[in-house]
């Protein structure tokens, strides 16, 4: 405990706690010094600048974790879990990433490795020991059940994606129904923590926010059709695509205008997708014929808002969050898989599939052995047990923060 001083000016900057962690009892297994001082971005910045001036350098993205990995403190799945925690955008994602850090995912993968190892060992025994009595087991059944288990795990983990990246919610509607106003209204809510990430769709405006612990990515399709005349169908094509790819749709209708052909076209598009029908501009006198709408959407509960005044917006968001959570709920446990982990597991799945396909087609046992061997290598790579330089580079370049 002491005061941080600028050695040049001899001026005190802040009262701070300095913690020295001696190797190997630190996160990186190296000597580490940690400064703890009073909050505030400016103060932090000032102290970091001071350190840099005195000869320190900033950590590269992921460097602390990389060092922890290189010094044997954590293994690859744990290193990736750290990346997830650093990047975790919601409470749920944080919990899941924490579980991986404790090694749950690694245990799961180890059990798959064990199954494949057993099959491979049995094949090799048959091919290499003439005098052994290893019988041809029912590899296909074993492979199929392993395949199903792994596939289910990938699918469950895909369901966790919204907690990782945010559920995509598309705001659709013809021009001037108030899409941008709604977006602004949402972004302006005090309860919503808005973070600006670059949008994934170039033609649409995207706003990321965490509402009641659930990360959402609101996509405003405004501007899709308005600029050029002959692009009308193109606009519809893009809207269609967004509707198809989004997890949830908010379809805006201007209740101060009668329904137009465009409105009906849109309503048709969203009919089979999870959605809310949002009647905007409730501050203006209604001109919409609800009866015909109700014939098309008999079960529909209409959300009424005024994007201008903000009336009803909070209620809409509350319901939206409930819906989104429902869509992505699942039974039991799931493991949060990074894209690389998913890719490796999917590659293993393809190899397993190819392996049993080869047997169905009548190919010989040696081919089965080779494919299982490759599947095994892929799974080993997942726990970092076999080496691939490119893989490591790509993992550590994925970090966007030091540690």
């Amino acid at each position: 405990m002491g005061e941080i001083q600028d050695p040049a000016s001899q001026q005190g900057i802040d009262q701070a706690l300095v913690v020295v962690m001696r190797a190997p009892r630190s996160y990186t297994r190296e000597d580490v010094v940690e400064f703890q001082f009073h909050g505030g971005v400016l103060l932090a910045q000032k102290i970091v600048e001071l350190c840099l001036r005195e000869g320190a350098r900033l950590a590269h993205p992921g460097e602390f974790t990389q060092r922890a990995f290189l010094n044997g403190r954590i293994d690859l799945t744990q290193a990736e879990a750290v990346a997830e925690i650093v990047g975790a955008r919601s409470q749920r994602a944080l919990e899941l990433a924490h579980r991986n850090l404790k090694g749950n995912l690694r245990d799961k993968i180890k059990s798959w490795q064990k199954t494949l190892l057993a099959i491979e060992a049995s094949i090799q025994a048959q091919c290499d020991f003439l005098h052994s009595e290893e019988m041809a087991n029912d590899y296909l059944a074993e492979l199929q059940s392993l395949y199903r288990e792994m596939e289910a795990e990938v699918k469950k983990s895909e369901k966790l994606r919204p907690f990782q990246q945010g559920a995509t919610v598309a705001i659709v509607g013809k021009p001037n129904t108030g899409k941008s106003s709604l977006l602004n209204q949402v972004a302006g809510r005090e309860k919503a923590i808005v973070t600006s990430f670059p949008g994934t769709t170039r033609d649409a405006i995207e706003e990321s926010l965490i509402y009641q612990g659930t990360p959402l990515r609101l996509i405003d399709t405004a501007g899709l059709r308005e600029s050029q005349e002959e692009v009308e169908w193109l606009g519809i094509e893009k809207t269609k695509k967004i509707i198809h790819e989004s997890d949830f749709i908010l379809a805006l209708l201007d209740q101060s205008q009668p329904l137009s052909a465009e409105d009906w076209q849109l309503l048709e598009l969203i009919q089979n997708r999870p959605h809310f029908l949002v009647l905007n501009k409730i501050d203006l006198p209604p001109k919409i014929e609800l009866s015909s709408l109700k014939r098309t959407f008999p079960e529909e509960e209409f959300q009424r808002i005024s994007a201008l005044s903000g009336e009803g917006v909070e209620a809409l968001l509350d319901k939206l969050v409930l819906k989104v959570r429902n869509i992505f709920s699942f039974e039991g446990e799931a493991y949060l898989l990074t894209l690389r982990q998913q890719a490796e597991i999917k590659k293993t799945l393809r190899l397993i599939e190819e392996a049993w396909q080869s047997q169905k087609e009548g190919l010989t046992l040696d081919v089965l052995g080779l494919l299982i061997e490759e599947a095994l290598k892929t799974l080993m790579r997942l726990t970092g047990e076999s080496w691939d330089k490119r893989l490591l580079e790509s993992i550590f370049s994925q970090f966007c923060l030091g540690k």
Partner: protein, 630 residues
């Protein structure tokens, strides 16, 4: 001391077993004045265990030896009494041959070949010391009773003779093979020049008297009806009259063994890490698989001139008195007479991580090690190393670059790489499963892979190389013909396809496409392919494999490319691993011991983690690497 010219040689090979014979032969074939020193000339190329050559992983090596110009395949063909294809139906990556041979004939034929090589001399004696000059270069060997031979390179292939001790129950006595003296003094010489020795053991089975065996209840395994041969130069033949017979141990056998377990001197520790152990004794099997009621026993003939029957499956070091009980508890062997009891042997070996990929010692220039002294088991493994060591001893004397066989080129390459990078904990045995690229490096294409190498080394004659060139052209030509020849969907053809269990075609299709179906063979399509050229069966076999397994072979080729990238990253030979920062202490030790020459090899050293390798790869790109001062 004055030396007469006759005691000066270019290459001296110590040991007349399978490694020594091949090493001496290839060295002499390369035109080098070679001396083979052996304890007993009548014991040359003896098979102290099974009278069999080949089998999975081993047959492939025999073919590689043949392609490189070694003798094992040719001598096997000259002494075979029973020959079988093994792993047929399991695919080209694992398929090979296994021969039963006449033990004595193999030995005689090998001796005949060696004695008639004009560059090669034989000498009977025990080498007691390897002689080095002041620069730790080999300059010769000193033999018991006074003779010294000067040589530029020495190949040491002394097998289980290095401090060999036979163990039989509580008995133990020094021996090389049963009834022969061990080599004891040379062990001190090796330690004196700084080589670290370890201890291994292995067992052999009792030999039985054919006349006292009741074969009537046993399953018979006859020799193949199709003509076959091991050597690419050989004439395929059918062998008759010498069958293998199969019987089984009983519960009584297990009880006898369990009762006497404490009398087995060489019981391996039970290992739970590996599902397959390479060559267990019967005692081991009984301990590790207590639930199994019986184990198979293969009775292998030793030839028409001998009544000895080799009893495969009863590897044991139990006392003789127990061996009688064991044999008599087996159906068909109730009244059998044992001619030679089984025994265990314990011997020293040189930790092979002290070798380069050329099989030369890292610390002694001109000294090459081959065979069981490097911790391997099996005649074929020994012979394969003998060929490589003989070649490299020759190359060293010729002052030419050495031959290194890579993992993607040959079984021999896999074996040597495993030995020098992974080390040895139990006798090393080759298996197809250890060979990653086994679909590319097959029994059937060893000639295509290695004859050219043997030719350029001066071992294989030009005529033989020419044949391989023609074979390769023949394969390529036929594949492109099959790609261009089409068949119409006639009812005859579709009927054939249906009979073979595959779907009929409904449009004009190339022969190539039809042949890519696993169910249809080249011969099946004979009637539909009237302009088919006459081709030797070896060419047709390769054509079929290349077509049917094309996708998988392509996949392996891509893997090999990745593998070669790592292999191409060289590690300086005098790199000081202990001064590399960021690498764990354990990895530093392991790397310093194994002294890998490439990053790829480093990646296969045990105990070196992925993170160590990342650091190593980053450091290797730097300029100021810490080097040992020497």
């Amino acid at each position: 001391m004055t030396q007469s010219p006759t005691t000066e040689y270019e290459v001296i090979v110590v040991g007349g077993g399978h490694a020594g014979c091949e090493a001496a032969w290839v060295s002499a074939q390369m035109g080098l004045k070679t001396l083979l020193i052996t304890l007993t000339i009548h014991g040359i190329a003896l098979m102290p265990c099974n009278p069999a050559i080949g089998g999975p992983g081993k047959g492939q090596v025999v073919r590689e030896i043949d392609a490189l110009g070694g003798l094992m395949a040719q001598v096997t063909d000259q002494s075979t009494i029973h020959l079988r294809r093994v792993n047929t139906g399991k695919g080209p990556a694992v398929q090979t041959l296994r021969a039963q041979t006449m033990r004595d004939l193999y030995s005689l034929k090998m001796r005949e070949r060696l004695e008639n090589n004009s560059n090669l001399s034989l000498f009977q004696g025990e080498v007691e010391e390897i002689l080095l000059d002041s620069a730790r270069k080999v300059k010769g060997v000193r033999v018991q009773y006074g003779t010294t031979f000067w040589g530029k390179a020495v190949v040491l292939a002394i097998g289980t003779f290095l401090n060999g001790v036979i163990r039989l129950g509580s008995l133990s006595f020094p021996a090389g093979r049963h009834g022969e003296f061990p080599a004891q003094k040379i062990g001190h010489s090796l330690e004196k020049i700084g080589l670290k020795l370890g201890k291994l053991n292995t067992c052999t089975s009792p030999r039985l008297d054919r006349r006292t065996i009741d074969f009537s209840q046993m399953e018979e395994q006859p020799s193949e009806e199709k003509p076959l041969c091991f050597s690419f130069e050989g004439t395929p033949r059918v062998y008759q009259g010498a069958s293998i017979f199969i019987t089984r141990t009983t519960q009584k056998t297990c009880q006898i063994i369990k009762r006497n377990l404490d009398r087995s001197p060489l019981l391996y520790p039970v290992s739970d890490s590996s599902p397959v152990r390479e060559c267990p004794s019967l005692e081991d099997k009984v301990c590790r698989f207590p639930d199994r009621e019986s184990h198979p026993i293969f009775l292998e003939p030793e030839g028409p001139n001998s009544n000895e029957i080799y009893c495969q499956g009863v590897f044991t070091s139990l006392p003789e008195e127990v061996q009688w009980q064991i044999i008599h508890s087996i159906p068909g062997l109730e009244k059998t007479h044992i001619m030679r009891p089984g025994y265990g042997i314990e011997y020293n070996f040189v930790f092979p991580n002290q070798l380069k990929p050329t099989l030369e010692c890292q610390t002694v220039t001109g000294l090459f090690l081959a065979g069981q002294i490097n911790g391997t088991s099996g005649y074929e493994e020994a012979a394969g190393q003998g060929v490589l060591a003989g070649i490299n001893a020759g190359r060293y004397v010729q002052n030419l670059p050495p031959l290194v066989l890579r993992r993607d080129q040959s079984y021999i390459g896999v074996m040597v790489d495993d030995l020098i990078t992974k080390g040895v904990e139990e006798p090393y045995r080759l298996r197809t499963g250890k060979v990653e690229y086994r679909l590319m490096i097959r029994h059937s294409n060893a000639d295509l892979r290695l004859t050219e190498v043997g030719y350029h080394l001066g071992i294989v004659p030009h005529s033989r190389y020419q044949k391989v060139v023609e074979k390769r052209e023949g394969i390529e030509k036929e594949i492109s013909r099959l790609k261009q020849t089409t068949l119409a969907p006639t009812s005859d053809l579709n009927q054939l396809l249906r009979e073979k269990g595959t779907t009929p075609i409904n449009e004009v299709t190339t022969l190539y496409t039809i042949l890519s179906r696993p169910q249809v063979s080249y011969y099946d399509l004979q009637a539909f392919d009237p302009f088919r050229p006459f081709l030797p069966p070896q060419v047709i076999e390769e054509v079929e494999i290349e077509i049917k397994y094309r996708g998988y072979i392509e996949r392996q080729k891509r893997e090999v490319e990745e593998f070669l990238q790592l292999e191409s990253k060289k590690i300086p030979p005098n790199l000081d691993f202990y001064r590399l920062k960021g690498i764990s202490r354990e990895a530093q030790e392991r790397l310093a011991k194994a002294r890998p020459t490439t990053l790829g090899q480093a990646s296969r050293v045990q105990g070196v983690t992925p993170s160590d390798l990342v650091v190593l790869s980053i450091l290797l790109e730097r300029k100021n690497l810490p080097l040992n001062q020497e």
